[in-house]
Symmetry: C2
DNA sequence: GTCACAAACG
DNA sequence: CGTTTGTGAC
C-alpha cells in the first residue's frame, strides 16, 4: 500500500517564497483546475512557490478561476481550451507572455506557454499523450502528432539555449524515459510512452544541456509522479514518472532540492498527478563557479 | 428573500424517537437519495424519526445506500427504478412489505410502497406529475395516467378504511389543492397540478375520512414544501404545497404536531423539496375519546 | 476513476 | 438549477 508518508505535504521551510534568495518552481497536472481549486489553494498557501506550471486545466482561458488565484497573491497567465488540455503559469509578479503555442499546426491545442519574468523564461508544457483512441486502436495519427510536437519543442529549446536564455521547462511530458520509471514496463511496451520514436525525441532535450531536476535531487525511488485513478494504482503504488522540471545551466547550477509532493495524490478528490517541485538558491554564485 | 428561519432544522425535543409514546413520521422528496445522503443522514441523526417516506430516490432497489442508512439505525424498504421515481420507507424495526405497486398497468413505475409494522400501515407515494413532455405539449397521456393512478390510490385507501386499518399515507402528491397553495396560481391554471380532474380525485382522499396533518397543525402560512431550483424560487419564496401526510382516524386523534422543515431547502445542494413531519402521542388514549 | 460535455427532465 | 444517462478522454 501507498500512504505517501515519505512525501506527505508539510509546512514550507522558513526560507521559502523568495526570502534569502530561495526560489521554488512547481509543476502540477491538476486534471481540471476548477475541480482542483481547493487542493491548489492549499498548495499555494502552504508552499508559496514563486512559479507554478499547471497542465490539464480543462477550461477556457476566460473561465480560469482568476479571482481565487489572485486573492492568494498570484497572477495567472493562461492558455485554455474547452474540455481538454489547457496550461497556465502562476507567478507572484505579472510576467510577459512570450508564446502560447509552438510553431505547429495542431488546431490550436493548448499545450505550451512560455513566459518571461526578470529576464528568465518559465515554460510550461503538456506533451500530447500519443495513444490511439479506443475507437481506432491501430491509428498512428496521435503518435505522429506527439513526435511532431516534441520536434517543435526541441527546436524551440535549442534556440533558447543558443540564445543563452536562462529558463525552467516544466510539465507533463507523457514519456517513460526508462523502464524503471514505470511500475510495470511490460504493460507499456510498444506504447506511445515508450517507443523509440518518442524516447529518442525526449532524450534530445538533454542534448541541449538541460538538467532533470527531479532525477538530480529527488531521494524517491522509484520516482513516480502519476498514478492512474483506476485499478487502485495509488494504493498499489503503480506509478509512472511523467512530470518533469528541466533546467538550463543557470538554474541547474543553483538547484538545492527537488521532490514529488505525493501527499497531494493521497487526498480525497486528488488529481491523478502529484505536484513536482524544485528549489533554487538565487542569492549567490553557485559553489562550483568559484572553484 | 427566504432564509427558512421560521422553520430552520433544530435539535429534537427530548421525547423524540419513540420515548414516552412520542412517534414521528417524515416525508421527503429527496431528488436522488445518493446526492442527498449527507442531508438525509443529518436529518435522521438530529430528529430520529420513527418512519421516513422518501420519494424520487432515483436509483434501483439494489443500489440504495443501505449500509449508510443501516449504520444510523434504520432499515430501508425500497422500491427503486433506474433514473426516475423510486420510493423507500425507513423504519427502526423491519416492517412487512405489503405492496410495492398499486393495481395499475404503468410499466412498473416505482411510486407506491405499503409497509406494515406493529399492525399499522405506512404508505409512501410519489404521485405522477402529469405534465406533458416538452416535446409534445398538447399530449394528455401523462395527465390520464395521473388520473388513473389517483383512482387506484383512492381505491386502495377506501379498502384500508373499510377494513379498519390504521395508517399514515405520506408523499409527494403533485397536486395544488387550493390556489392559496402556490405562489402564483395564474401560472399553474390549467396545469396537471390544478385541473378539476385532478383536484377532485385528490379531494376524494378526504372523503375516506383522512386528515391532512400539515393543514391541521402547521403554523406556516403560506404552507409550502417545494421550491423550484430555477428562477431563484427559494430566495423569492415562490413555493408550492405538494408534500402531504394523510392520517387515518387513529393517527389523526393522536396528532400533536406537524410542520415543514424548510431549513433543509436552504442548505447547499438541497433537494427542491423540504421534509414534512408529523408527531403523535401514542402512549395514551386521545383526549376526545374520554369526552 | 475522475474528469468534461451534451441531452432530457422537472 | 440540479439531477441522470451517455460519450470520450486519459
Amino acid at each position: 500500500m501507498n500512504d505517501g508518508s515519505s512525501n506527505t505535504a508539510k509546512p514550507p521551510p522558513a526560507d521559502c517564497g523568495g526570502h534569502n534568495g530561495s526560489f521554488s518552481i512547481v509543476s502540477w497536472n491538476v486534471n481540471s483546475v476548477k475541480s482542483r481549486l481547493a487542493h491548489l489553494s492549499d498548495y499555494l498557501t502552504r508552499f508559496s512557490p514563486d512559479v507554478v506550471f499547471l497542465q490539464e486545466i480543462k477550461t477556457e482561458t476566460e473561465s480560469f478561476p482568476y479571482p481565487e488565484i489572485e486573492s492568494l497573491g498570484w497572477t495567472a497567465t493562461v492558455k485554455g481550451q474547452k474540455s481538454y488540455n489547457g496550461v497556465a503559469v502562476l507567478t507572484k509578479k505579472k510576467p510577459v507572455l512570450v508564446a502560447d503555442a509552438l510553431d505547429i499546426d495542431d488546431g490550436g491545442q493548448a499545450r505550451y506557454l512560455e513566459t518571461e519574468l526578470d529576464g528568465r523564461r518559465f515554460i510550461c508544457v503538456y506533451v500530447p499523450n500519443g495513444e490511439p483512441p479506443a475507437s481506432d486502436p491501430s491509428s498512428k495519427e496521435r503518435l505522429i502528432y506527439k513526435e511532431k510536437w516534441l520536434d517543435a519543442l526541441n527546436g524551440r529549446i535549442r534556440k533558447l539555449v543558443a540564445d543563452g536564455v536562462d529558463f525552467v521547462l516544466g510539465g507533463d511530458f507523457n514519456v517513460i524515459e526508462f523502464d524503471s520509471d514505470v511500475y510495470d514496463p511490460a504493460a507499456f511496451k510498444g506504447s506511445a510512452f515508450t517507443v523509440q520514436e518518442i524516447r529518442s525525441r525526449f532524450k534530445a532535450l538533454y542534448f541541449n544541456g538541460l538538467t532533470d531536476a527531479l532525477r538530480e535531487k529527488s531521494p524517491r525511488s522509484p520516482l513516480y509522479t502519476y498514478w492512474d485513478y483506476r485499478f487502485s494504482a495509488w494504493e498499489k503504488n503503480h506509478g509512472i514518472f511523467l512530470d518533469r522540471l528541466f533546467l538550463s545551466p543557470y538554474f541547474a547550477d543553483r538547484l538545492t532540492a527537488a521532490d514529488v509532493d505525493a501527499g497531494f495524490r493521497a487526498l480525497e478528490k486528488a488529481s491523478d498527478h502529484a505536484p513536482v517541485r524544485c528549489v533554487f538558491d538565487l542569492s549567490s554564485a553557485p559553489e562550483d563557479v568559484n572553484e
